[in-house]
Amino acid sequence: MQKKVLTNINLYETSLSIENSIIRYTFESTGKSKLIKAVEYSRLKTKSGDTIYNLGFGDYNSEDKTISDKENSNNGDMRKVFNTVLSTVPEFFKVFPYFPIFIQGSDSHALFEQECRNSCLKKCQKICKNKNRRIRTYGHFLNKNFKEFSKNYIFFGFNEEEKKFVSYEVKNKYSAILIYKKK
């Protein structure tokens, strides 16, 4: 006999704004403190003429009145925030079903490790633990739900050494992820 296992997915309500080729979802994280966060999909043309949408995510900074993806706010509601970010993926595809979403962490670029070691308190030895942290989080969540997500989406991982996209395989590590909606 099957037993029902109920999982609650808590996420924040978002506010949608579309401006030229930018789709933005803004919401408030109510963890330890109240923070405004935004998920943005920005159009990008590749050299070969393909269009992709780059996913950006960050916190509102009231001083310079912009959104920054540099800080980790650690607001105590990571799961809710992450669920909220992911909930914008199907919403995005409702607007642009034929364009892929490109996800790459701002902590994956070549100079990150050097910059991090200059200011980080963790004193990592050989491997910088913060490098690729963001894409690892996305990958971790995708791996856990891969079967379910694959019903509607096709995933590719970016192989950094070969500089090419390959079919996404759970447990492999990638420096970026590309998502297409199945037609």
Binding site: I9, N10, K163
Partner: protein, 58 residues
Amino acid sequence: MKIMEKDNRLEKKTNIILMSKATKKRISKVEEEIKGKILFREKMEFAQKTLQDVKLPM
């Protein structure tokens, strides 16, 4: 244990935490402030660089 897990049917219930009126107002103000700004310029440049000689798979 594994068999039991296999037989279990996972049901997911989405619970949306709604915004208060004050939050909506605050967000609306922020949206106005960031309107027209390129928010993730470095990230866009990084994506452009990563994808510069890459062929998309589909």
